[in-house]
């Protein structure tokens, strides 16, 4: 298995894997979606009753949205997660009582009139845990309205809820290949060449040759499969036949920014090999029995 990274940013990754069966790439895809963990707000405690500010003004702990809606909106906020730093709450050494290794507590204290943004969540303790995407609107407060919230974030996996799913979209395609039938008759070879991205095909002395297939990695070439590729002599042949490699894939995924794309991929791969290891162990256990 060969893996060549095409593009890598914090939120985006694209690579080419070669020499691999589709079920294996798919396993990686499923692993990325469902089993890469992330911190997300799981419990929100709302202050009830009047809220006073320093000047003694009284506010009502109320807003246009219902509490459960605000809680849901908060849960969707990506929390920067260092996968090395945090463990699952039930596996933590604190035995589920909550400690800096498994939970983050955020405080939000806003008084209207204003718009409450995700950046208004203040972590208790480590300021590195501040929300990076600060301008996600949560709710608008009017005069005399205020919001005092304690929100607890814990580590979880996409399998149990989408809020714990750092990899938002993830997919792949079989690597494309083009076959040129230069004996097939076509009306306008120029147009055929132009219908593909620049640099893919080359027209030379009424002969089309495939120059570089790389530009086709970004998009499935089936989208270029237009009627002009059909041969005009009615033979049913196509001037350009679009095909795919069976064991070579272009793999794409994006994250919401909570976990860098690279870390997510590394975590998924490690986790996968751990799983296979565990499976191997289990099977060898079967042999003995």
């Amino acid at each position: 298995m060969k893996l060549v990274v095409r593009e890598l940013t914090d939120t985006r990754c694209s690579f080419i894997v070669d020499n691999v069966r589709p079920d294996v790439v798919n396993t990686l895809r499923r692993e990325l979606i469902a089993h890469v963990p992330k911190m997300a707000i799981d419990e929100v405690e709302f202050h009830m009753g009047p809220i006073r500010d320093e000047e003694g003004n009284e506010y009502d702990s109320n807003s246009a949205l219902f509490d459960e809606m605000i809680a849901h909106r908060l849960s969707m906020i990506p929390i920067p997660t260092d996968l090395e730093q945090f463990t699952f709450k039930d596996q933590c050494e604190c035995e589920g009582s909550g400690c800096p290794h498994c939970t983050i507590i955020y405080v939000m204290n806003k008084k209207g009139p204003c718009t409450v943004y995700s950046g208004d969540l203040q972590p208790l303790g480590d300021m590195n845990l501040k929300i990076k995407q600060e301008l996600i609107p949560i709710v608008k407060l009017k005069e005399k309205q205020a919001l005092l919230i304690y929100a607890t974030a814990i580590l979880g996996k996409g399998r149990s809820h989408a809020k714990w799913q750092p990899v938002t979209i993830c997919g792949y395609m079989n690597y494309p290949k083009l076959k040129v039938n230069n004996d097939a008759k076509a009306d306008d070879l120029e147009a055929i060449v132009k219908s593909f991205p620049e640099g893919v095909l080359k027209l030379d002395k009424n002969k089309i040759t495939v120059k570089d297939i790389k530009p086709l990695e970004t998009k499935d070439p089936m989208y270029y499969d237009t009627p002009i590729l059909d041969s005009v002599d009615g033979s049913g042949k196509k001037v350009i036949e679009i095909g795919y490699e069976d064991e070579k894939f272009v793999f794409n995924f994006e994250t919401d920014g909570a976990v860098p794309a690279k870390n997510a991929l590394i975590y998924a791969l490690n986790h996968l090999s751990d799983k296979f290891e565990a499976l191997r162990d289990d099977i060898s256990g079967l042999d003995k029995a």
Partner: protein, 1137 residues
């Protein structure tokens, strides 16, 4: 032309017809001749001869005094509330809703007592309360009420409404009665006072019949003239027992000369023999020659064998009151009725002679709509009449006591108020109609608007009435062709098309004189070739040049006046019917009219410059009507016209052009994009389901306390817009979300219209909604000074729950907001005084109070949203608790697109189990391809393509009916975006990882969450409550009832021969009981266990020979009920063999 449509809605509300009608009813400064005032002026109490608008007291007990009460001007104030302590203050609709009050205004009437011809000082007296339509001219929310500044911008007005805790986009047009919003459903009825002829089948032979629904002041009576097989013309008169010969009736009405009768009927020589035969029959067989003969004949027919005096009275009442009341109810109008009857008979004979076709009852020219104002008018007339009768009676009582006469102290305003409020609260209208007022549908904004534009037909839904249910060509542009319910009420309940106007009527007496000025002549002799001129169904004269008359009437209408230049009105519609050579002019109220461009020389008169001024707001819709560019056309006049659909379709000779083809659709079907690509029933279903969708119903949802309310969490504007949406504020109060949908099969979980949802999408908030239920409790007072108490019930109280049940309550016995509550949890603790008929053991201990706490409905849960404590109208404490619960889509919840494609969730798939494309984009929803071909919802497919193109390009697509963006354009756009123009994408199997062998059609489409959710329907019972009377399990989910094990189910078990299962279902699990039966063979009555614990027969006193018998309680009940009818059933016991 959308500029014109927009101009229409910039000056008119979507429910303008209701509002205008009610405003016409209300007496305001700018409406001196209001319908209310007209009722006052025309009221007649007591005898027929009495002068209208004056009550004459019967003063025979006093000497020669004559006392009249003159009724003067009526005024209606602004809505106020009178508190229990007597204080009054201005009422806002929101306060009325929250405090269960009626949003009503006091009505004042000026009374002048005239004693012996001398007027006393007029007295202004409150005569009752009138519920006020929200946002009508007397409503506190009316623009002019909120500010003296007439030029309040929409924005400022909206702000003011918000200050009054209203949704600025609420359409108004409904009433608030005891805190509930009620809308008055418009009624469609056959037009009154018109002669309709038709063939009626009787015993296999067709018979020509003419019918008139004569109506005057709310009183309706059907008169029919039939041409019998034997040639006799017979009349059926309401309240008369039998049919009577027409000639005799005409004679009785004072037309004694046979020549006159013949003249009144005959218009063609061929009619002569029929009429002569009738005259002869009358003279020879019945021996009726003079008026007296005729009256005697009627007396014999109507009141046989009664005293002469009574007979005369009866005949008088029938011919003056029941016969053709629209012509008058006085003796003087008899001859008029006789002439009219002659004309009815002529129509029958014309039909018989095939000179005319039968009238089409379903033709919209023959239909009239009664709107809120008309309905209120009927109600107010009846209520006011009974109030005045009551006043008369009260005053007559006071006179005899020789006190000074005062109206204020004798009037009982409650007589009027209660009558009106009761009708509005129950929907039982005067005249025996029910369902007139309905609880306003607040499921979403669309359901509210559609409810206020609904029209019902009085035809019974149980009968087929195929013709009445069919879409009639004359409904084009007036009623929506698609928006009607399915099933029972199909075609009987209709909805208005987008732009219609219901005529308010114009005085026909003024019109009549104008017509005479225009060359109409009175009829001198009946036989003539000149065209007859009918005004509102009455033959007023003849005209030599009918086409010229019609033209000049039209011309004058387009200039904005008809009767007098100073009185502008375009309420008149005119038609020349060549078949019967008559000019038909209508100016009455209730006609549904639609606007059309006037074509002159193949050209409409709206210039591009005017169009621009319309857009800029320099000129308005009204200006276009005033200038004769647009005119309102009723169904009668439309028969004369030739209408082009658009500018390209204009041919020479065409008279009019449509405003915009899309306006033929109503509000709900107007939301469906590309409806012209769909099969018609699917649009009907789509518009029906739009009314069940959840969305942002109103912006004041946190304040309102509806008994049930829904709120969609993230409502979206549809990617595919229609023009209609701008006029119904759909984009500001949307009712759905744009879903990414893939059309493919998925492991069979989407068979039979089931839907597969992406779990991650749901968890991110897709299709989430909140259900709100309000519970309310009043601290009632009982006779004897006892009252309910809202408190934490003492353990001593009868039926008190355990202490834990009350732990959520505050000291005052009421729960606090944000408490998590479950089914049967106590929200408000309450105790009530003991019931009157309760058994009491002894007289020393005081009787215990009962526990009557309010609990959450079984199997519902949620958070307490708000708690409101207030005072109701009677000064009683009123507590309302709102509970909200979040409804996250689950298996079984119902969703639908706008094209009648509905389905329930069959599976919620994990995100990694959803098919994906090369970028990894999974669909939110997977629907089954089988849903498409047989239903032919092509627009559904088109919407997916358009939605995809729109969301990729970040723009909304116009999918308006007939004029939306073209399919080719959308496909080209998709192609330019790098997609296949078909909308198909390569997808991968989420389980094997292999590429799917076929491409999958994927797009973005608007889906609505419908309010049928499993959580509200799921129901199980193992043990549960039983009915007190029969001891059988209760029925229905709300009572935790069982499911009936019915006869057919029982038959099934019999066939299987499983007798013990039958016993189990029908006895053990139902109402099985053990009864003790007296074993005495001579007795056999049911025995009892007496106080000492001895089994004893109360009938024969037997104590030893008593046996337990297992039976159903229903059988025991039967025995008891038979006993009450003096049938004593005996049970003779025998040993089992």
């Amino acid at each position: 032309m959308k500029e014109v449509v927009e101009a229409f809605f910039s000056s008119r509300n979507i429910i303008n017809h209701q509002m205008a009608s009610f405003n016409d009813f209300l007496p305001t400064h700018d409406n001196p001749k209001s319908r209310m005032q007209r009722i006052i002026d025309s009221i007649r109490i007591g005898e027929v001869d009495n002068e209208r608008g004056i009550i004459r007291l019967d003063v025979d007990k006093l000497d020669e005094d004559s006392i009249d009460i003159k009724l003067g001007r009526i005024t209606v104030g602004t809505p106020i509330v009178k508190e229990a302590n007597g204080a009054t203050h201005e009422l806002t609709p929101m306060e009325a809703r929250l405090r269960d009050l009626t949003y009503s205004s006091p009505i004042f009437l000026e009374f002048t007592i005239i004693e012996n011809g001398i007027d006393r000082e007029p007295e202004k007296v409150k005569i009752g309360d009138l519920p006020i339509m929200i946002k009508s001219k007397r409503c506190n929310l009316h623009r002019e009420m909120l500010s003296q500044d007439r030029n309040l911008t929409d924005d400022q007005y909206g702000r003011k409404l918000q200050d009054m805790r209203e949704d600025p986009l609420d359409p108004g047009g409904y009433f608030i009665i005891n805190g509930t919003e009620r809308s008055l459903i418009s009624l469609e009825d056959l037009s009154p006072n018109r002669v309709l002829v038709e063939w009626e089948e009787k015993y296999g032979t067709p018979m020509a019949v003419a019918k008139v629904f004569s109506q005057r002041e709310g009183f309706r009576a059907l008169t029919a003239v039939e041409h019998k097989k034997d040639g006799m013309l017979m009349v059926s008169v309401p309240a008369a027992p039998t049919q009577i010969p027409l000639v005799i009736l005409m004679k009785a009405l004072g037309m004694d000369a046979d020549e006159d009768i013949a003249k009144a009927i005959v218009s063609d020589e061929r009619m002569n023999n029929v009429v002569f035969a009738n005259l002869e029959e009358c003279a020879v067989t019945h021996n009726v020659n003079t008026i007296e003969d005729a009256l005697n004949y009627l007396e014999k027919k109507f009141a046989t064998g009664q005293a002469k005096e009574f007979r005369e009275k009866k005949v008088e009442s029938i011919i003056d009151k029941s016969l053709l009341p629209h012509l008058g109810d006085h003796r003087d109008q008899r001859i008029k009725k006789s002439i009219y009857l002659g004309r009815i008979a002529r129509s029958v004979l014309e039909l018989k002679l095939k000179q005319r076709d039968p009238d089409d009852k379903d033709h919209y020219a023959n239909k009239r709509i009664s709107l809120a104002g008309d309905l209120c008018e009927d109600l107010f007339r009846v209520a006011f009449t009974s109030l005045m009768k009551d006043l008369k009676y009260q005053l007559e009582r006071t006179i005899t006591r020789k006190r000074k006469l005062r109206v204020a102290s004798s009037i009982r305003p409650d007589v009027l108020s209660q009558r009106i409020i009761h009708a509005l609260a129950t929907g039982n209208w005067v005249g025996g109609r029910d369902g007139v007022s309905q609880l306003l549908d607040r499921t979403c904004n669309m359901s509210t608007i559609s409810h206020l534009r609904r029209i019902t037909s009085p035809l019974t839904r149980s009968q087929p009435h195929f013709e009445a249910r069919d879409l009639h060509p004359t409904q084009w542009g007036r009623l929506c062709p698609n928006e009607t319910p399915e099933g029972q009420n199909c075609g009987l309940v209709k909805n208005l098309a987008l732009i219609v106007d219901i005529s308010e009527g114009y005085d026909d007496r003024k019109l009549e004189s104008t017509l005479f000025d225009m060359g109409v002549r009175r009829i001198e002799k009946e036989l003539t070739d000149e065209a007859r001129v009918y005004l509102n169904g009455n033959l007023i004269g003849i005209h030599h040049d009918p086409e010229g008359l019609v033209d000049s009437v039209r011309k004058r209408r387009r200039q904005g006046f008809l009767a007098m230049p100073q009185e502008k009105s375009n309420e008149i519609n005119v038609r020349y019917n060549t078949q019967v050579n008559s000019v038909i002019i209508n100016s009455d109220d209730g006609r549904v009219r639609r606007p059309l461009f006037v074509l002159e020389k193949g050209q409409h008169k709206l210039t591009d410059r005017m169009k621009q001024s319309l857009v800029d707001g320099k000129i308005t819709w009204e200006d276009l009507v005033q200038q004769g560019i647009i005119e309102w056309i009723d169904a009668e006049e439309e028969e004369d016209l030739w209408i082009a659909v658009d500018e390209n379709g204009i041919e020479s000779g065409m008279t009019h052009m449509e405003i915009d083809p899309m306006v033929i659709l109503g509000t709900c079907s107007g939301l469906v994009c590309y409806p012209h690509h769909n099969s018609s029933p699917r649009i009907t279903m789509g518009s029906g389901m739009a009314k069940q969708s959840l969305g942002l119903g109103s912006s004041n949802f946190r304040i309102r306390c509806d008994t049930r309310g829904h709120l969609l969490h993230y409502p979206q504007k549809p990617m595919l817009q229609t023009k209609t949406m701008d006029f119904v504020n759909f984009n500001k109060r949307p009712g759905g979300q744009n879903f990414v949908v893939a059309v493919m099969s998925y492991q069979g979980y989407n068979m039979e219209d089931a839907l597969i949802f992406n779990k991650a999408s749901i968890e991110r908030g897709l299709g989430r909604s909140t259900f709100i239920r309000t519970y309310s409790v009043e601290e009632r007072r009982y006779p004897g000074g006892q009252e309910d108490r809202i408190e934490i019930p003492d353990p001593e109280v009868m039926g008190a729950r355990t202490e834990e049940a009350y732990t959520n309550l505050d000291e005052d016995g009421i729960i606090s907001p944000e408490f998590d509550v479950n089914g049967k949890d106590v929200l408000i603790g309450r105790t009530s005084p003991p019931r009157f008929l309760e058994e009491h053991t002894d007289f020393l201990t005081p009787r215990r109070r009962r526990e009557t706490s309010l609990t959450v409905r079984p199997r519902e849960l949620g958070y307490v949203d708000s708690v409101m404590i207030t005072e109701s109208e009677n000064g009683l404490r009123l507590v309302k608790v709102t509970v909200r619960s979040e409804k996250i889509p689950e298996i079984g919840d119902k969703f639908a697109s706008r094209h009648g494609q509905k389905g329930v969730i069959g599976h919620i798939a994990n995100p990694e189990d959803m098919p994906f494309n090369e970028l990894g984009i999974p669909p939110d929803l997977v629907t089954n391809p089988h849903a498409i071909p047989s239903r032919m919802t092509v627009a559904h497919v088109l919407e997916m393509i358009g939605g995809k193109a729109g969301s990729m390009n970040g723009r909304f697509i116009d999918g308006t009916a007939f004029s939306g963006e073209k399919e080719e354009k959308l496909r080209a756009e998709l192609h330019d975006l790098g997609f296949k123009h078909t909308g198909k994408e390569t997808m991968y199997d989420p389980f094997t990882g292999k590429k799917l062998r076929v491409d999958v059609f994927k797009g973005v489409i608007y889906y609505q969450k419908l309010h049928h959710m499993v959580s509200g329907k799921m129901h199980v019972r193992s043990r549960g409550p039983v009915q007190i009377l029969t001891r059988q399990p209760t029925e229905g989910r709300s009572r935790q009832g069982g499911l009936r094990f019915g006869e057919m189910e029982r038959d099934c078990l019999i066939a299987h021969g499983v007798s013990m299962v039958i016993k189990d279902r029908l006895l053990d699990e139902s109402d099985g009981t053990i009864e003790y039966v007296c074993g005495n063979p001579l007795c056999g009555n049911v025995a009892m266990l007496d106080k000492r614990g001895v089994l004893r027969c109360p009938v024969c006193g037997e104590t030893g020979n008593i046996h337990p018998v297992q039976t159903s309680y229903a059988f025991k009940l039967l025995m008891d009920e038979l006993k009450s009818m003096c049938v004593a059933m005996r049970l003779n016991l025998e040993d089992l063999r």
